[in-house]
Symmetry: C3
Subunit: 115 residues, 3 copies
């Protein structure tokens, strides 16, 4: 496990739940790719409503069947890893919003402390 404490980058990717990558769901394909490529982590949250570049409002009420709610994928990693992330997003994403901002990482660890 790499150390990640200090100044890093938060990337947030807003896509649709029905977006596909080679017949797989895009967000799961992206998670697998990021894990395989050694990224520190990624977290996917499902929104309950939203609209974006296509200006259609999607809500959990009217879209329970079609399942095209917005998803937010958040990735915190070093500038060097984020530089590697950009071509991956360029390759895999269709539409969507991608934002980037600096964050200070206070803690990144897998294990419970003993004691």
């Amino acid at each position: 496990m790499r150390s990640l404490e200090g100044e890093q980058i938060l990337v947030r990717v807003f896509i649709g739940e029905s977006d596909k990558w080679h017949h797989q769901s895009l967000h799961m394909a992206l998670l697998e790719r990021l894990r395989r490529d050694g990224f520190a982590g990624a977290t996917v949250t499902r929104a309950v409503a939203g609209f974006g570049a296509q200006s259609t409002i999607h809500t959990a009420q009217i879209l329970r069947l079609s399942e095209d709610l917005p998803l937010i994928i958040e990735i915190v990693d070093s500038q060097a890893q984020i530089d590697r992330l950009k071509p991956i997003l360029d390759e895999m994403l269709g539409g969507g919003l991608v934002t980037m901002e600096p964050v200070h990482v206070l803690q990144y660890r897998a294990e419970k402390k003993s004691g």
Copy 2:
């Protein structure tokens, strides 16, 4: 569709799921207003627990019936649009937390790339 790449603003609005605007749910009324007024997008996420200015802890367990869980509405747009957002929030919001921070937009587009 406007271009949004470059330095923009992320606004996050924390309200309650039961908040109302003229007998409609506040978050849906706000989404409709933002779309009508040409904002680039907005995404609504439902929290599972939280407390805020009123200091009552709301959780999905105890509030499944009353449905007053916190909602987070996220809006990414230009400084000029965010200047237009402030009076809208001032008009429509009762209680709640509103935060603002700069973000760098890497991508904002509706369509899948061909090829």
Copy 3:
């Protein structure tokens, strides 16, 4: 209720839903502690998928029974309060990611405006 308008800090804590603190769920124990210690607020969101320092991908599909999905706890408060938050997180958290970034608070209030 304290005033919170102006430059403050956003802390985001990424933990697992099954993390415990003294036989209680960590996120609920943390919410209770923060409220008791006078923090301005905290909001807990449940992710639908993710991986982190342990590199195992958790998803809502395969983890509905074990319930170890990632949780994101967000806290916005003054630098002085965040300085008090750090030893609390150090005491209560095992594994997980903690990030910190400056935010501008536009509004923080409990009550609906009259009129």
